[in-house]
Symmetry: D3
């Protein structure tokens, strides 16, 4: 006698899966899973972190004299693993637009090579982010503390890698990498967001930055800031239009305090300061200082 | 000579524990721990995720032809482990209301069986949640991406399992499962919340949904939305009254944008749209569109 | 033929590291890494949790009769590991203020001993936090549930340990411990914050408490509350002044509801109640009840 | 300054590898390793053990009602992994006899299918081996004890699997599996050896059974018995001839006591008993009883 | 289409298991596995090794000041786990002689307590074995080296624990522990063998010591020595008689060199020396020196 | 009430340890363990195997283009770990001959450097051993099979490393490494044995080679061969004399078949062949062919 009637439940779950496949017009594909793996990408990014910052995020027993050996071996291994994941994404995509396996291999290899070649530039960008955090936070004691402790830096390491994948037309890999950071930090940056040098997010929990946001140099933001879309653009037939710019443009040297919400394709001009909790859906001129108080006197742009 | 005087500290901690037990009027129970285990439940839910979505959340080497084998074995194993945890909760509860071990076994087995029998229905509900997310987010590229990447879906997998446990009068297990999701996603849904089909949470960090909230079909909410209690109902003797409905009712097709706070047993009518950051403590009629702007003109329902 | 030109990338990364070291005026130090390890501290705190609450957070097979054995062995092992981390922090610090290794050893041992001796007091404080949570949340069913499930309690276990390290002038270790909690709970408490007995954070995601905040007895706060700095004090030469009190003082028995923002060195008087989402930059008298509604009628203290 | 001159040693090892490749007339093949993996095979055999004896060698929490689920999932997974290893061996072999990748795939799949189809017969053979051990050892208390404890049975599980691989012309996989058993038990059975039903090895350490040995039904041998080759057959040109029968034939119901050495293509007739430590290089008639004592009186067949 | 026809093979294996159960007259027992676990016992013995020799076989970071804490916690945990395994063996045994579960619990607890109480005496015996090895091997440099490196000592740690289990009428547990040592060292000591103080096995591979062997004080043996049974005693009805003394008695101070074979219930008298490779089936008087050479001149006791 | 009286047993074990320390005239040293670690050495040798044979014993995903990176990083890491173990051995030794910590550091570093510098030569020796095995075994199909499967090769990798440690006066490390191989292969080679190029051990279980054995080029031996000491040399005062040559000298091109025992400082002349199971305690001339048969006719050198 069975304790749980597992056989029956297996049958019912089998049926539920069949319904789902039918509703999605999917054939029961004969082979195995062909979707990139979250676990694999987590391991790859972990290795890349070590290869980018070997003495601080690499293995604790590493010494300067074998830094390059470590970097070389770790990179090779991580890039091989990434190449596998790239092929999985391209293969998955080709269900809709069938392509020859050879083409997928060629494109995957080209993407992996381009990604690899960009790593030194990414390291330099991240060095700038670390410096920005160190200079922007009175509590920071050293650049090393910033690199090891700050969730905002962790989020940027993931984002700068994810954004590169996004630009290489690997949106699934990019998204998975972004969500790995989101889960660890509470900072949700869409991999499509373009973020220039010297970006610093303090505290960070609850930050949301949308896909078409454009952020200039030396920008600083605090926890719970949203750079979101006001509404989704809809085309003549009422369909959601994808890819249109719908998130804010934040120019150089802007500071946005905690809880502020900036919605739509508005521009925050160079050097503007946005106070905590303000709600903005229009352009802000360069150098402006928008706060709760200032908004009291400008009811037409009144926020909460 | 001792480096840390560990013996002394052990003694002092021993005394602190004794004080605590005295203050809580607990005897020093002779046996071992009899509390459900967070680690065990994390493993159980991980297995159930695989059994519910074998080809996408199960092991990477799984193939269609052995899907049912995998589901059957994983279910059996997860349900056995769950049964153990159920007995621990019931045993823990029976400290206050002593019961015969046989009764606990009977009730535990019945609960585990009922939970198991409900899994196919839970899978169908989750399929609906995935579809809702896919249709509600212009950035989503496929239902598979949604299932693998979206924290809102992860939270709902945990919630739908936790809610089933809650309804089986296993509030501790339910709560632990809910907190496992909270820790990973920043989405805090009380396992008591009743959520109908097609629910979608975008971004999600900071969402809080209370114990007696009731949510209809096809509802969509964004990050930092609170469905909370306005105040705690107190009975004639000044005691907190438990179990009374104190959180919002959200009817079908409602959309609530980021940062909105809805407090108390209010009803958001069918199809209403609640704008970002608004603060609501009264009913909203069906189809209404409440935004910061609209509230400026309606001071009696004025929010922040 | 190379697939990824790893050799070239290794060279370019080598150069990027050299540039960074030059920009930071660092010599290429001959030895290995000398920075405390996040992973090591995670393990140490995990052990201390078990030593503080052996029957509930220790190993599942523990029995009362060997509680002290477990506590003693775990403590010894955790304190040894902590001593190693303390030496790493002091050694790292001494790059700027060179000191004899013997001095570092003496100071490290003294710090570890002081930390160890304080553990029983920390356990008593945490017992009070657990009771406060149990009494403050109508949904809580038992003190055990609170200890095992509530992220606010998890955050306080980490904070009370981190704060002790901070006061022992080990700010890096303290910060790492604080970020471990932040990553798991979304609650960001600076280890410098002084928090008295019976503190309860409900839900918690998005809470930020700054370095010089002072919190009294029996205070209760909800998710997304910020106790922040209004602006950074700048000295006569325009330099950021560190260490000055710049965060709120919260007196005994204050309650602060979700989303409220309190900025600057203001005082919330004994027993005050701060409503959800309010924005406060001035003192609040004892017993006051500040809400969105009350602020409407007091424009000079008007918040969002 | 370098502590170990690792760079120099890396260079010298690089040179040593180049010399080896030159001496072996190997090109530096561009890709990665293409040799079966000992670790992978260890995992595969571990899974197959569970699939063959689910309730005794499978997972401890397995219950009868989900036995088939477990067997099905484990088999599928192990066979997939085996297929990968088979392709590696065939690919490795094709270095010498180049073949089209498609041919390798077809042959590999056929081999894996044939191996899989034979598993039920292998289980029946092993059941017979267990019974033989139980009946042959006065110390054995149950068939379950035999299956779980006896190294002779462990060796036979590995051998019967390895022999099947050997017959499928996968000698490398077969050899690796055999050495896995040798390492654990000290029993060294070449995978080519043909062993009929009901075979029992007691104690086992030091047993060696050669490639072309043929063993009948119900044979029993003890530790340190060698069934070896007397000399290697050499052809007209002085080359070692491979594949010729050069090890003993042991007919049904033979018993060979500890330390006996039987060399060359001799036949031990049905029911013969070979005493401990005797040295045999000639045929033994059916039913004979050869011991140290008997050999004293038969100098022409004198042994040690 | 299925790659491996796993469904068919699962069916065929199901049938093979059914045949086996029928042949063994076993019902398909409803529950799960009820046999002691080799993995569990390996872990228990590993813990006991640490508890017996904390500073040398315990965790590397252990310090003298917390030795007792470690020993206490490790013991408690190992004994609990052992109690579980004892119940499994007694439960398994009770299939043949049905007993009340309460009786099993009482007997299991008594056995575990008796085992625990004997550990200090076992430690003292093992100290004597270590000293014997140190004094008997000219290559040994320290007692610590002996404890950490010598397979003969490893085998004796396992044997002295296994023998205690054997005497507590737990033959399955005893056998599993013995085979754990056999697999690691190639030394096969039946747990029933009685071995007095100061026993030393050098090199050890291939040693076999039978169930009823009795070994005195300060005995030393070398690799490949067998203390075996000459033949199995058979009763009047031709059944194997179990439990009769059938292995050698080795008196105090005997030395047996490599490869010697001693068979049957013979006695090697006090202080006798047995040369390498000799074959003995008769008593040897005290103080005798039996070697290959001596046997040449004594044809009636001639060996190989 | 306690189940096991753990406290009492802890006390009794404490007393047993105290007795042991007293008997060994050891003070209770204040610190922690200072003995090399078997686990650490197992990891070091595993890494060295990979560094010596990267494409075959290194990680499966390694590619030729990053071979040197892998070798460099792995070496650096393994040598650092080895340096730690060397210091532990020297520190342990200095209990008897107290030395300054600085001297230990200098000597340890010199030893580690010398060991490292010898690795390329060790690789070349091992290449020769692999070739010898391939040429000497008719069943070997490729040099790669030999390297991956043959226990005799595994034993030689460990021996050649252990012997280097032995010559650097690190006998404990050397012994531990030797026992790691003994445990895996049943081949027991004392690290002091001098073995020249092209050595091949077939099957291997039960082989014992003593500390002062000297083995020439191209020697081949089979399972259960002993190269042992006849008796221990004793000095005028009856003390065992250590370090005197007491094991055989085996000249170039000798073959020794299975089970042969060669005892004492005898010489097996160049090209001699020793048959299976023979017992030799005298010199054998070059080119001689000693077998059981030949010994029959030479009673004065008669063996078993």
């Amino acid at each position: 006698m069975s304790l749980f009637d597992v056989g029956d439940i297996v049958g019912a779950l089998h049926e539920a899966r069949a319904e789902w496949r039918d509703s999605q017009k999917r054939s029961r594909d004969p082979g195995g899973r062909e979707f990139p793996s979250r676990e694999a990408l987590a391991g790859i990014v972990e290795s890349l972190k070590g290869a980018l910052f070997p003495m601080r995020l690499g293995p604790p027993d590493l010494r300067h004299e074998s830094e390059d050996f470590y970097v070389g071996y770790t990179l090779e291994s991580a890039l091989q693993a990434l190449l596998t994941q790239i092929k999985l994404e391209l293969g998955y995509m080709s269900r809709h637009q069938p392509r020859a396996p050879e083409d997928i291999d060629v494109q995957a290899t080209a993407a992996a090579r381009a990604f690899a070649a960009d790593l030194p530039a990414i390291r330099r960008l991240l060095d700038g982010d670390v410096l920005a955090a160190f200079q922007g936070d009175p509590a920071a004691r050293s650049v090393d503390e910033v690199l090891l402790c700050y969730p905002g830096i962790l989020a940027m390491i993931y984002h700068r890698l994810a954004h590169r994948l996004y630009r290489l037309e690997l949106p699934l890999l990019a998204r998975i990498v972004a969500e790995l950071a989101h889960g660890q930090t509470g900072i949700d940056i869409h991999p499509g967001a373009q973020i220039d040098a010297g970006f610093f997010i303090d505290h960070g929990t609850g930050v949301v930055i949308g896909e078409t946001a454009v952020i200039g140099k030396r920008v600083r933001i605090y926890q719970a800031v949203t750079l979101g879309a006001k509404r989704f653009p809809i085309d003549a037939e009422g369909q959601l239009q994808k890819g249109l710019p719908r998130h804010p443009v934040v120019e150089d040297d802007v500071v946005i305090y905690a809880g502020a919400t900036i919605l739509g394709r508005v521009t925050l001009g160079k050097g503007a300061t946005i106070g905590g909790n303000v709600w903005i859906t229009d352009d802000v001129p360069a150098g402006a200082n928008v706060s709760q108080a200032s908004l009291q006197n400008a009811p037409q742009r009144r926020a909460a």
